[in-house]
Amino acid sequence: MASKVQPVTGAKAAPTLTNEEILRYSRHLIMPEVGMDGQLKLKNAKVLLIGTGGLGAPLGLYLAAAGVGKLGLVDFDVVDFTNLQRQVTFGTSDVGKPKSQAAQARLSNLNPDIQVQAFETKLTSANALELFKDFDIIVDGTDNFPTRYLVNDACILLGKPNVYGSIFRFEGQVTVFGTPGGPCYRCLYPEPPPPGLVPSCAEGGVLGVLPGIVGSIQAMETIKLILGSGDSLAGRLLLFDALGMKFREFKLRKNPGCPICGDKRTINKLIDYYEFCGVRGVEAPAPDLHVPEITPREFKARRDRGDDLFVLDVREPHEYQICNLQGHLIPLGELPRRVHELDSSREIVAHCRSGKRSAEAVDFLRKAGFKKILNLKGGILAWSDEVDSSVPKY
């Protein structure tokens, strides 16, 4: 069942809007559902965006345009070229700049009447409560499990709503956690997947429009929370399938046994979320395999010398089309049943994009009895950096 939105800001309305603001927000003001009262609520609202990437882009743009009085932007990352396909806050000239600062500049330009505060920092258990306390609503636009559990727990401990959105390839999930009496992220998913079961890069990627849609729904839910109007997504999980173009809805219940929002709270402070998720850091989701390696420069030198090296590419066919080192293509997932295509008497150099999948391949083949097999350290990315810049990075 949909729950009626209760306004959460509780802030007293600012006395007035300036004539310029009245003109800017005209299309809100002439709609009784927002009107002058609603626009003043927006002006008094303080919203913190965790992440200024794919989800954060439409969130920041629409919330700034709508006149949310104070927007906080938390992001430690810098803009790179691969972001531009979906992170529409940024332009090509922003590449290399800190995301929080580039987004701050863009949003301030969009709406100079609001306050935009950039926090160029990584959200951690040490700073989350301090960062959150000055804001009314927290919006989760992150991309990893440890931060999502951290955002959830900090919101519950502080009693603040958490507007949640997540995406994978063609699919998105949206809901609102942490409203009074409503469920939290731990009620929905008590634990994260172990790192080994998180989809690998062979299955990664995201259609650029998807975060635009999911982030826009988050922005809408945020504005409804501020206005106190409509039916909130709290208590409902909205699932969006972009390929099938279907929205489906699932009932979300508060778990009375939830360790943080249930009847008997057992989590009273923020914990180590990397340990909780079984990862040491965002950059190293799986334990590193120790397999014999060859650096791109050594590989180049040995190839030039005419050494007999068999090159095994364990990426997917669509990746091979982007660029390749003329290797024999066997996607990692097909390796077990295609081992017979390899000659164990020859020396093999396995590679992928970054060196991670091929490390798994080398590990697998060594266990299968292959003795002369090396992993190309850093994969195609390192090859492009150190040997041949004409090979594109992706």
């Binding site: 990437g53 794919g54 989800l55 992150t142 991309d143 990893n144 499990f145 999502r148 959105g165 997540s166 995406i167 994978f168 390839r169 063609f170 699919e171 998105g172 999930q173 929905l188 998913y189 008590p190 634990e191 994260p192 997947p193 079961l197 998180v198 989809p199 690998s200 890069c201 299955e203 990664g204 990627g205 995201v206 975060p211 999980l237 699932l239 399938d241 099938g244 489906r248 809805e249 699932f250 009932k251 979300l252 219940r253 965002v282 989701p285 997932g333 994009r353 970054s354 991670k356 999948r357």
Partner: protein, 94 residues
Amino acid sequence: MAVRVMIPTPLRVYAGKRDSAEFRAGTVGEALAQLTGEFDDLRRHLFTDDGNLRSFVNVYVNGEDIRYLSKEETPTKDGDTISIIPSIAGGSCC
């Protein structure tokens, strides 16, 4: 008519790229057993080694969470839709 099991995007790779499958099943458990019987790779993504549903995978019958019904014993009837909804974090790639 039968029970339709909806397979989410992240798990389709373990289910022959199918987005759904139909089974004749009287309970959620029976339907999932047939599904993982047909697609063996899916089993370790849905169940722990002890055979329990993993805590980052939720299963719904017609929009209702089976944890608040009779879990895997939840009865199903012709035309019901079982949805598997795993936790997704979104974004980054190695």
